[in-house]
Subunit: 212 residues, 2 copies
DNA sequence: GGCCGAATCCCTCTTTCGGGGGATTATCAT
DNA sequence: ATGATAATCCCCCGAAAGAGGGATTCGGCC
C-alpha cells in the first residue's frame, strides 16, 4: 500500500445522509478517499466502470437495480472488485445472495466508525470481512431448508394475494401443482398458512415488498 | 435568534452512519449544533429531558420504543418540543401518526443537505415543515378508508399467520365476529384475501414486521 | 331524543386451503 | 447407471375462508 495515494472508494446508497456520513468518516482517514457516489444500482454499475474504485461500499436496498443485482453485474465484468455491503440487517437471504453475487464483506449500518474503517482496510488489502454474528446467521439459515426457484417465485405471488388458481394461470401450471409447491413452502418455512409464509419470507429477505 | 448561541439539536437514529452524517451537516452551520445523540426511543426520551434541545431530529424506525411513541411521550411532557421526523418513506400511517403524536416536520432521508437544513431552521423559528409530496400522500390516504382500532389489531394478528379461530381466542371474541372484521378489512383495503391485506398493511405502515 | 360508527354476534353457502397420501418426468452429479 | 432433486400432476377430505345477508348494543355527537 502506498500511503501517498489513498484508496479510491465508491459509495452507493440512496440516502444522502448516509453518503455524507460515510464521506465524512472515510475522508478523515489518510489512506482512503471517497471518489464517487451513486444513488442506485444502475448508477453504481456505470460509475464503477468509469472510476474503477479500490473498494465499493454498497447498500442492498437501493432503487432501480437492487444491490445484489448490481454486485452481480459488477462482479461479472470485474471479478477483482472489492465490494463491502453496508446494510441494516436485511434478512439472511439478502446477505447470502450478496456474498454469492461477489461481495467480499458485510458491515451493519449500526456499526460505529471504528468498525467500518477496519472493514474497508481489510478489503483494500484483499481480505474478506464477515462479522461472526453474520456468519452465525448464515449457518442458522442452513438449518431451515432453502426454497427452490419455483418456490420463491410462488411466495412472491402469494404476497400479492393471488389464489392458487390465479397462480396456476399466471405461470402456466396446474392448480394441483401450485398446491404441491405451497405445501412444500409451508413445510420448509415451518409456518401454518400462506399468510405467515409471506411474512416470514419478507423477514428473511426471500421476497421484498414493492417499493412504496 | 441569537447568532452567537447556536440552536441545540438532538439527533435520534439507530444507525451510526446517519448520526455522523447529520452531525457533519449540522455542525457546519453557524446557527445550530448537535448537542446530543440517541440510538433508540427510550434514550431519546431520557436525553430530551436532560438536554431540552431546540430541535429534535428523529427517525421513526428505531428500537426499544418506536419513533412515534417516543414523539408522543416527549410531546406529552414538552408540548413546545420541535420534532423533525427524518425517515425513509415509511408509509402513510407512520407519517400521519408521527404528526398526530406531535411532530412538527417531516423530511425524507433521500433529501440532500440543502433540503434538511431549511427544515431545521423552520422548526427553530417555530414553523412547521411538511413537504408537499408528503401532504399529498396524507390526502391520498384519506381516500382509502381508515381501519378502526380493532381492525388494526386484527391485521397484526393476520400478519402472524393466525387463523380466525385463534384470533377469536386471543382477543376474546367469537370467530364470527373475527370474520366480520376481516370482511371489513378486505373491503377497506380493497384486497382479495388476508395475505394481500397483510402486505398492503405493511406497505402503508399500518403494521410492522417484528424486528429481524 | 335521535343518529351514527364501532364492535359484537348470528346464519347460509360456495370456494379455497391445507394435510394426507402417491406418481411421473427431466436433469444433474456421482 | 444410480440416486437425488426439482418440477410436474393427480386424488381425497375436512377445515378454513370469504361473500352475502341481518341484528344488537353501546357511546359519543348534534
Amino acid at each position: 500500500m502506498k500511503p501517498n495515494t489513498p484508496a479510491k472508494i465508491l459509495v452507493v446508497d440512496d440516502h444522502y445522509i448516509v453518503r455524507a456520513g460515510l464521506r465524512g468518516l472515510i475522508d478523515q482517514q489518510p489512506d482512503m478517499k471517497v471518489e464517487g457516489e451513486a444513488q442506485n444500482g444502475e448508477e453504481a454499475i456505470r460509475i464503477f466502470k468509469e472510476l474503477n474504485p479500490d473498494v465499493t461500499i454498497m447498500d442492498l436496498r437501493i432503487p432501480v437495480i437492487s444491490g445484489v443485482d448490481a454486485i452481480r453485474a459488477i462482479y461479472r465484468d470485474h471479478p477483482d472488485a472489492r465490494i463491502l455491503v453496508l446494510s441494516s440487517f436485511d434478512g439472511d437471504e439478502d446477505i447470502h445472495s450478496a456474498l454469492e453475487a461477489g461481495a467480499s464483506g458485510y458491515v451493519l449500518k449500526h456499526s460505529s466508525g471504528d468498525q467500518i474503517i477496519p472493514a474497508i482496510r481489510a478489503l483494500m488489502s484483499g481480505h474478506r470481512w464477515i462479522p461472526p454474528e453474520i456468519e452465525k446467521h448464515l449457518d442458522a439459515r442452513n438449518q431451515g431448508e432453502t426454497l427452490t426457484t419455483r418456490e420463491r417465485e410462488i411466495v412472491g405471488l402469494l404476497a400479492q394475494g393471488e389464489a392458487n388458481k390465479q397462480i396456476a394461470g399466471l405461470i402456466g401450471i396446474t392448480e394441483e401443482t401450485v398446491k404441491s409447491h405451497v405445501k412444500n413452502i409451508l413445510a420448509k418455512l415451518k409456518v401454518r398458512d400462506r399468510t405467515e409464509a409471506v411474512t416470514v419470507a419478507l423477514r428473511r429477505g426471500i421476497v421484498h415488498l414493492p417499493e412504496v
